[in-house]
């Protein structure tokens, strides 16, 4: 069993597991941090950006996992754990000869589709007249300035996919529900478990009858909107692959939420606007829910909240229809029936308005001061670019970063100098190190595999030994492009004995509570399922008349005799011989046992602890009798 690690990013994993002749890809996250190397894509012409010397803005390119490690067309299935971890799907399913199936839950598929749609929309509405690729040449890249010079593997940076590719990729997704058992080729069973991180997010169990691998990716123990994490099903794993821990181990999500609200209220009261760069699904639901409770008490009842994204409406609508995937409290609301998320009420009372983009209705209905939620959190593309340009010059305004995926300083770099206030309240509800070690103590996997980043404290805080995984035995770290041999040996496989054969078996007890039976059977292997059935009786050979046979047929059946165990006790054996009329026995003691000389029959029997030797000439009936007598004292296996 092997694990190929295609991504070094701990929260956007992409690993391939080879297990019992199946090749399973676990997640395919898209690392978009490389877009930070590019200039923002403005929606309206920006004189400032276009006057910058040197480098013209290019398409946000995207970093794809290393491909040389293995042939991606051999992948049988892809298991998706949450919608953030599927953004590279079109790259894998569309251009590698992939012919397998993708498994994901319904919310993961639907919201993942929205996020991809949004990304494509962001890119396509600002088409580039030219796109440069020559710079990717190593010789030229070497001469480029700044961080671009040091960027690795730029040749793997790809152009963004198209909607057509997204649709084609998503058509390969097969929907699964939590705890659904999916058989892969009869060899392996996979099953998603609730991971508590986002709508439909899942951890995966990959198991056969005797081996169990757990894949834990992006899990949360906080009570937000999704169904709580299923921990108990992770128990008894041979290997637990651990990815997607919090990127903000020192930031408490509740504290951040409080800070978010107070900064927001402060800015509004001072007459400024608040910009929240965020993804269109996920934490935004919790932010809106928090604001719903906060608005009245903070006297923000008249402040307009805008959510601007090509998929804003869909995201808000979809969030309301996944009752099965929500936490208990929200499910109870659906039973009433009421919408599970309070943003329905915010929309109904006109406090929250959503628009597909800043163009159209928004421009006429837009009132300030206001709060705007919009993407993309990298500040490189999407409507957020416009608001940064619009509000950046005034110190009354505030931008509040809530998404932890991008360094906010890097994100802000092209907008400097900036008068606007910047607040960083990253909200990452994924497991922290403390929660993880508690979880691992609980579920007790034999081995833990994790990105190498988790085995040492973060570079910036090298003294914080609490910000790493300390386990016994130590976890097996992986980095991009490593191939791990997972440490367990398969020793058993499930086979089914058909009833007819089972009834014909004759068990005998060899030890108290332990019985054995010899089995001779025909093995049938079909679809990786093995069955044993009785050996068919050979049809009687038709007497052939062509040739007169001088000799009898040699024995045809290859049924070997069972192995023997035990020893033949001398006294009892002699008594038995006597019963069968063999009385003249001369017993001679040797170093290892006895030699019995049957004088009348001129036959020798050598009895030893671990063997019996019968030397008998020309007397087949006698030999057969002796054989059977010896066998009486032995156990057959």
């Amino acid at each position: 069993m092997k694990l190929y690690c295609l991504s070094g990013h701990p929260t956007l994993p992409c690993n391939v597991l080879k297990f019992k002749s199946t090749t399973i890809m676990l997640d395919c996250g898209l690392d978009t941090t490389s877009v930070l190397n590019f200039l923002p894509l403005p929606l309206v012409h920006s004189p400032r950006l276009s006057k910058l010397p040197g480098w013209i803005s290019k398409d946000g390119s995207i970093n794809l996992e290393k491909r040389e490690l293995l042939d991606l067309s051999t992948i049988d299935v892809i298991l998706i754990s949450n919608y953030h971890c599927m953004m590279a799907l079109p790259y894998i399913t569309e251009h590698t000869g992939f012919t397998g199936t993708v498994y994901a839950t319904e919310p993961t598929l639907q919201i993942g589709r929205l996020l991809m749609e949004e990304l494509v929309n962001f890119m396509e509405r600002v088409p580039k007249a030219q796109s440069a690729t020559c710079w990717k040449n190593k010789e030229i890249q070497r001469m480029l300035p700044g961080p671009l010079k040091d960027a690795v593997d730029v040749w793997t940076w790809k152009r963004c996919y198209s909607m057509q590719e997204v649709n084609s990729a998503l058509s390969k997704v097969q929907l699964v529900g939590y705890s659904q058992k999916v058989e892969l080729f009869g060899a392996v069973q996979v099953s998603p478990l609730s991971s508590g991180y986002s709508l439909g997010s899942s951890n995966w169990i990959i198991q056969s009858h005797h081996e169990k691998v757990s894949y834990v990716s992006g899990s949360s123990l906080l009570t937000t909107h999704p169904q709580p994490m299923d921990q108990s099903s992770l128990k008894n794993s041979d290997v637990l692959i651990l990815t997607g821990l919090t990127q903000m181990p020192t930031a408490n999500p509740d504290g951040m939420l409080g800070e978010f609200c107070s900064n927001l209220a402060m800015t509004i009261r001072a007459g400024g606007n608040v910009l929240v760069p965020c993804y269109s699904s996920g934490v935004i639901y919790d932010l809106l829910e928090c604001l719903y409770q906060f608005i009245e008490s903070a006297n923000l009842g008249t402040t307009p909240f805008y959510f601007i994204s090509p998929v804003a409406n869909s995201s808000l609508e979809f969030s309301q229809i996944f009752a099965e995937w929500l936490c208990h409290n929200k499910q109870t609301k659906v039973y009433l029936p009421e919408p599970p998320f309070p943003h329905a009420e915010l929309i109904q009372t006109n406090k929250l308005k959503h628009y597909p983009s800043i163009h159209g209705d928004f421009s006429s209905e837009f009132r300030q001061p206001c709060v705007v939620f919009t993407g993309h959190p990298s500040l490189r593309f999407g409507d957020v670019v416009h608001f940064m340009e619009l509000w950046g010059k005034s110190s009354l305004n505030t931008v509040i970063f809530t998404e932890p995926d991008f360094s906010y300083l890097d994100a802000l770099a092209p907008y400097q100098p900036l008068a606007m206030k910047c607040v960083y309240c990253p909200i990452d509800t994924r497991l922290n190190f403390h929660q993880v070690s508690k979880l691992l103590k609980e579920v007790q996997p034999l081995h833990v595999v994790c990105p190498e980043q988790y085995t040492q404290p973060p570079l910036t805080q090298s003294h914080r030994s609490d910000l790493m995984l300390e386990l016994q035995p130590p976890p097996m770290p992986y980095r991009r492009c490593s191939v791990l041999n997972l440490p367990f040996r398969r020793r058993y496989e499930r086979v089914y004995i058909l009833p007819e054969l089972a009834n014909s078996l004759v068990p005998s007890e060899v030890k108290p509570g332990v019985s054995v039976a010899t089995v001779s059977a025909v093995l049938q292997s079909k679809d990786n399922k093995h069955t044993l059935q009785s050996v068919p009786k050979a049809p009687p050979v038709a007497p052939s008349k062509k040739r007169k046979r001088v000799m009898e047929e040699p024995p045809v059946t290859m049924a070997p005799k069972p192995l023997l165990s035990g020893a033949v006790p001398l006294e009892a054996f002699l008594a038995t011989l006597q019963k069968h009329g063999i009385t003249e026995v001369k017993v001679e003691e040797t170093a290892d046992g006895h030699i019995l000389h049957l004088q009348a029959e001129d036959t020798l029997i050598q009895l030893e602890e671990d063997g019996t030797h019968i030397v008998c000439d020309n007397n087949e009936p006698l030999r057969a009798t002796l054989r059977d007598l010896v066998l009486r004292f032995l156990q057959k296996l």
């Binding site: 529900g177 609508e317 058993y492 089914y496 010899t518 089995v519 192995l563 035990g566 054989r627 296996l637």
Partner: protein, 598 residues
């Protein structure tokens, strides 16, 4: 031999009061717990005393599964759990869990508040009962305990309707509840994978019907409604608040829009708004088309359909009213029916099945004079139309499901005996499987023949698979040999050598040596070679080696030649074999005794 037992307490050769007991692998499961619409006495509920004479059912049932929210499938649930007594788990899907208590409360109100019955379950009992419910997701495998697992499949029929697959070890049963194999305007079609259950328990409401296409029925329905409206008549459509009602609403809504009709459409009881809301929140349970477009246009927001008020019934002019309940056995639909029955311009359209004993059933059978309470009679002059919109599988659909699931046995419930008999014949003929149709209280036992799961050592398995070659030859099956070790509850199949090692036993070698005298006028080595060629020609399928150290090996049997000191032609062959080669050794010794061919 293990057996699976199925006993219907209700819905055995009958429609209504669905309640089926299944015993499988030592587990007892109750499937549905419904009431009978046709009775108002004890026969209304299943006879739980069948399970136990005295006291609570908790000890006798491992779980209860409710397939959908119709009262003939869940109406007796609070009675069973709170009044008879059951504290174990009750499973149903999320929509069923949401809607079921509302219908139960409705049912309770009609029975207790309107008819004044006592000794009936209370509102609190419904709430307590619902607390015992564990929601099921589609396709989720729920482990009820270590051995019993259940899995729900989409059944169509109504919002949240499910079929369940029940499995203990390698034995399994599928219960369909009510299902529909053709998608309709708001729900999808039932689906199940090829799970090959030992028994498929299927409803058979429309066992003998093969319905014409849905489109024809819809056109017919619209035509009849339209004609009645045109001549100024009123149309009453008795429905249950959830299910068919929404489908017909969508149908009329689009028709009204297309034809630009002005006559009002009403929906009785305050449930509509709420009901439609359930459809919006559980939109993932509706059909693909509705699911795909719900962000742009939610099909369950109706423009033409308004809430009904009791006073509207006397308004002049045409109108269409959807009123509950669907079988005209009580409530608002019955009140409106009484008001409108006398006018032959009016029409009542029964869109679903009516249970025996209800007014709906009577008028559908052509009865024109109805005895009402208080000895009065009612003349039925209005037109009565029946239109099968209830989403049950028809004969074709049932056969289709059998093809999907490939059961080993079939068991019919929820249908009329005569019709079942017909379908049973068809099933037995087409699929050559046994088909049962037990009556209420009658037990059907089906013996199963499960294979025994065993852990085989991978070494042994791989060895055999290599021997078998990549393309197994069906004519020449390869036998494998091993030792099955039975220890506590584990069954392990390993090679005999490994078994010895694992059990800590020593191997005992049993060997035989046999001297054969032979007259052969050749040198020793020539004799040996002659033996070699002789055996080679006789034993075609065995490996025979002539070794340089002056021996011939047949498999692991050693043959040596020596000549006696006196007579160089008198050879002595020494054969030595172990017990494992006994058959061959014994054969060889007798063969060589016969001498070598000249």
């Amino acid at each position: 031999m293990p057996e699976i037992k199925v006993t219907p307490l209700g819905a055995g050769q009958d429609v209504g009061r669905s309640c089926i007991l299944v015993s499988i692998g030592g587990k007892n499961i109750m499937l549905d717990c419904g009431m009978h619409m046709g009775y108002n006495d004890d026969r209304r509920f299943p006879d739980f005393s069948y399970i136990t004479q005295n006291g609570r059912l908790t000890d006798f049932l491992d779980c209860v599964i409710i397939s959908h929210f119709h009262l003939d499938h869940c109406g007796a649930l609070p009675y069973m759990s709170e009044m008879v007594g059951y504290d174990g788990p009750i499973y149903m899907t999320h929509p069923t869990k949401a809607i079921c208590p509302i219908l139960l409360e409705d049912f309770r109100k009609i029975t207790v508040d309107k008819k004044g019955e006592t000794n009936f379950f209370t509102s609190q009992m419904i709430k307590d009962c619902m607390k015992k419910v564990i929601p099921l997701n589609l396709h989720q495998t729920v482990q009820v305990d270590d051995e019993l697992e259940i899995k729900a499949y989409y059944a169509g029929h109504v919002l949240g309707a499910a079929m369940v697959h029940i499995k203990v070890g390698s034995e399994s049963v599928v219960y369909t509840g009510d299902y529909n194999m053709t998608p309709d305007r708001h729900l999808g079609a039932a689906w199940i994978d090829k799970c090959r259950p030992d028994i498929l328990i299927s409803e058979s409401t429309y066992a003998t019907t093969i319905r014409d296409s849905k489109r024809c029925r819809e056109r017919d329905f619209l035509k009849k409604v339209h004609e009645t409206i045109e001549r100024g008549g009123k149309v009453l459509i008795p429905v249950f608040a959830l299910g068919r009602a929404q489908e017909l609403c969508i149908l009329l809504e689009t028709f009204w829009e297309r034809m630009n009709l002005k006559a009002p459409i009403y929906f009785s009881t305050g449930l509509t708004e709420k009901a439609n809301h359930y459809y919006k929140l559980f939109i993932t349970w509706t059909n693909q088309k509705i699911r795909k477009t719900f962000v742009q246009r939610n099909m369950f927001e109706f423009k033409h359909i308004k809430a009904f008020d009791r006073s509207y019934a006397d308004n002049p002019g045409p109108m269409v009213v959807f009123a509950t309940p669907g079988m005209l056995h009580a409530g608002q639909s019955l009140q409106i029916f009484k008001k409108w029955a006398g006018n032959d311009k009016n029409m009542v359209i029964m869109p679903g099945y009516c249970v025996q004993g209800t007014i709906g059933h009577k008028i559908l059978n052509g009865q024109r004079k109805l005895e009402m309470e208080g000895r009065s009679t009612l003349d039925v002059k209005l037109q009565v139309e029946y239109m099968s919109f209830s989403a049950h599988a028809d004969a074709k659909g049932i056969m289709q499901l059998i093809r999907m699931a490939e059961p080993r046995n079939m068991l019919l419930v929820h249908g009329e005996a005569a019709k079942m008999e017909f379908l049973k014949g068809k099933i037995e003929q087409e699929f050559s499987i046994d088909c049962y149709m037990p009556a209420n209280g009658e037990t059907t036992a089906v013996t199963t023949n499960p294979s025994v799961p065993v852990d085989i050592s991978l070494n042994l398995l791989k060895r055999e698979m290599v021997l078998g070659g990549p393309l197994p030859d069906p004519k020449k099956p390869r036998t494998m040999h091993g030792t099955l070790i039975m220890k506590e509850n584990s069954l392990k199949l390993v090679s005999s050598e490994q078994a010895l090692k694992e059990l800590g036993l020593n191997e005992h070698q049993l060997r035989f040596t046999c001297r054969v005298q032979l007259q052969d006028p050749h040198s020793d080595s020539d004799t040996l070679h002659r033996i070699y060629t002789h055996l080679k020609s006789v034993l075609k399928d065995y490996t025979i080696q002539h070794l340089p150290d002056g021996t011939v090996m047949v498999e692991s049997i050693v043959i040596k030649v020596s000549s006696s000191a006196e007579d160089a032609n008198a050879k002595v062959l020494l054969l030595s074999w172990s017990y494992q080669d006994e058959d061959l050794g014994s054969y060889l010794s007798s063969l060589l005794k016969k001498g070598l061919p000249t």
